[in-house]
């Protein structure tokens, strides 16, 4: 060893030896520095509005728990997902609680149930008598194989936001609309070529079919969907066949009545403003965005329930969502659970969240609050909160699965293929497209089952 160091000193110049020595010493010092122990309770989340609300409540929490002060860390969506999964997979540091969006949760449920990185809340909810305090459908995205792993932040009912100025100018009474058939029949005058160039410039309904969330809005509203409550895929269900065939004939062929824009982009918002779109399906959070992103439409937009697929059918759907979960890495899981309840069952936060975002709480005891009855000038004086709240009990469940993104891609692919067939064959009625819809959805179901059966962790649950 002595000759080794002597050799280094002899081989290297004094300057390089000095730099090398300093490097080694500083590396050793850094390695020996004690890590700052993370104190208190920490939440990671990706939504700035939520972060501000929780930070405002931190003093109250800290007064109750001076030994476990609250730290709220706002992290961008992709970084949050990477850090969360790294923590679950490899044991890298995690906070006590994480707020996760729906698109980020599937992967968390991909492995064996006992390896899910969040604490199973099913028994805690029952123990604390909270199992029925929230709208039951709101739990479904955060449930895997019958176990609940998160509390839902919002209920996220979907309504139809429509340009009341255009609809009323055309003399259309939306009260006469119950079904989608009624809707397109009554709204027909608004399918317009405004400049006489032979191309439609205004559609009664506008959705982006390449955006995965739209197909789900329609599928679950009509009794279809991607999975049942135990994660079994249902892509080729009768309801899905019926709805997909209908969507294709709405969107393609000689009877096209739907415009295609992505309403989450600046270009999409511009087209909404310019009247290309008469109506768009809007979840509570999107309704809250409208006054901010399209202030010039103040007094020109109203909400109405989604038309049903058949008379007496469901008049709403669900879209988006966030949950909070207690991580298994938490050193204080009971306190973290207490904090989760404090933030998610609090009537104060429910009100502040509604004021800020129009997200309506799934907590039933908040539904009678008077702020939901407030008339809103932007929406022509409608009590938007009450309209959204009244839709909550009718929200369909949205079962989760690690294969949700695959299922969504497969169904979207079916819709795209069916649209091409509809264009080619000139289908006008859904019955004409139903045979092709069945065949394509059968293929999609087969592909998805193959993927699921390959997963040895999931296969036990899927017959």
């Amino acid at each position: 060893m002595k000759s080794f160091f002597a050799g280094i000193v002899r081989t290297l110049s004094p300057g390089i030896s000095l730099v090398l020595g300093l490097g080694i010493i500083s590396a050793v010092i850094v390695a020996l520095l004690p890590l700052q122990p993370r104190g208190g309770i920490e939440i990671w989340l990706g939504d700035g509005n939520h972060a501000n609300l929780y930070r405002a409540l931190a003093p109250e929490w800290n007064r109750r728990h001076p030994d476990l002060p609250l730290t709220v860390s706002l992290i961008s969506g992709p970084a949050l997902q990477s850090r969360m999964l790294s923590g679950f997979y490899s044991g890298t540091p995690l906070p006590d609680l994480i707020e996760v969006e729906r698109g980020q949760i599937g992967q968390v449920f991909a492995g064996p149930l006992q390896d899910v990185g969040f604490v199973d809340l099913t028994d805690l909810l029952a123990r604390d008598g909270l199992a029925h305090e929230m709208d039951s459908a709101s739990y479904s995205p955060w449930t895997s194989r019958g176990r609940i792993f998160g509390l839902p932040r919002g209920a996220h009912p979907v309504m139809l936001a429509y340009r009341s100025d255009l609809v009323e100018a055309a003399g259309i009474d939306v009260k006469q609309i119950e079904t989608w058939d009624d809707y397109f029949r009554l709204m027909r005058p608004l399918l317009q070529d405004l400049d006489g160039d032979g191309y439609i410039d205004r559609y009664p309904l506008t959705i982006s079919l390449t955006n995965a969330s739209f197909s789900e809005i329609f599928l679950i509203q009509g009794g279809g969907g991607y999975f049942d409550g135990m994660g079994n895929p249902l892509l080729n269900s009768d309801a899905n066949v019926r709805i997909v065939a209908r969507l294709a004939t709405w969107y393609a062929g000689p009877g096209r009545v739907i415009g295609d824009i992505n309403m989450y982009t600046g270009a999409g918002l511009r087209l909404l403003r310019e009247g290309y779109a008469v109506a768009i399906p809007s979840a509570d959070w999107y309704v809250g965005n409208l006054p901010v992103t399209l202030p010039s439409l103040a007094g020109k937009i109203k909400l109405m329930p989604l038309p049903a697929w058949e008379r007496g059918g469901r008049r709403t759907s669900a879209n988006g969502g966030t949950m909070i979960g207690v991580t298994k890495a938490s050193k204080h899981p009971e306190i973290a659970w207490e904090l989760a309840k404090f933030l998610y069952f609090s009537p104060v936060i429910a009100r502040q969240l509604y004021d800020l975002t129009h997200i309506v709480s799934p907590v039933k005891s908040t539904w009678g609050a008077s702020y939901y009855d407030r008339p809103e000038p932007y929406f022509c004086g409608q009590p938007v909160g009450r309209l959204l709240q009244q839709a909550i009990p009718d929200i369909p469940p949205r079962p989760s699965s690690p294969y949700l993104s695959s299922a969504v891609q497969l169904v979207n692919s079916v819709i795209t293929q069916l649209m091409a067939i509809t264009d080619r064959q000139g289908y006008v009625r859904p019955e004409q497209a139903a045979g092709d819809a069945r065949r394509l959805l059968d293929e999609a179901q087969h592909t998805l089952l193959d993927q699921i059966h390959r997963n040895v962790f999931q296969a036990q649950a899927i017959p």
Binding site: F88, A110, I200, T210, I261, S405, Q409, V456
Partner: protein, 298 residues
Amino acid sequence: MSSRRPHPAWAPWLFLAPFLLFFAAFGAWPLVRSFMLAFEQTFGPRTTVYVGTLNFRFLLHDPLFWAAVRNTAVFTIGTLVVQVPVALALALLLNRPDLRGRALFRLIFFSPTIVGSIFVGVIFSLLLEKRSGLVNTVLHAAFHSWNPDFPWVDGFVMPSLLIASLWLSVGFNMSYLLAALQNVPGDQLDAAAIDGANAWQRFRHVTLPAIQPVIGILVLLTVVGALQLFDLPFILYADSFGNGPNNAALSIVTYLYQTGFRSGDLGYASAIGWILTIILVLIALGYRWLTREEDAAA
């Protein structure tokens, strides 16, 4: 005359040690681990099950994987057929001594390469937007019969990707070819001209053989780059996580990303990665075989 002490035998290893350590930690070990992963099913590194060749066998029957292979192959061939000839044409144009403002044109053609693929993806998604995009707006203004809802991005997936890719990379390829053209011996061109060769014959028999090694390298770089297609479709078809309508934009790397980082199936993603590696190695070997005579002459 200065006297130098002999270095001890371990001295080179001392200097190589940092690289070797980093390479072992961040190069060799991940390679070995990913090879092992390809034979496992995983839920993170801690929950793994050995599944033998299941991942590779499943790949053979996975319609999404084959759609990704087909799309990637079409994109690679399209890129090759379009990009190298266009780059060569631009290089020939800029190589004309009588052309004014050559430096400015070089900058203009090269500038998309500087901004990067993400930016290009965003620009093209705005340009090719259905109703409000610049391309449809201009075409509809110029030709009233042009459909303002013309579905560039949704209806013409591969052409959209090829055009965006051409805009992104043609300047890079052009700069290589321009450098090669400037090294073509002028006396040979003069001699050919004196012997009566016309412009095409001078290009075919003097210029082209002289720049052939550079074209070969560009073909290899273009093919390897095209096979790793990811960022352009990921931005242009962000709504569908890079799949595009009916999976028409799904590339091998996008599928690898989706299986590994969206579905969490790292084992299957590793199997896809190794298949892509084998394809790339075969192409590189094919290139070496095709250019063996030139290498021997050099």
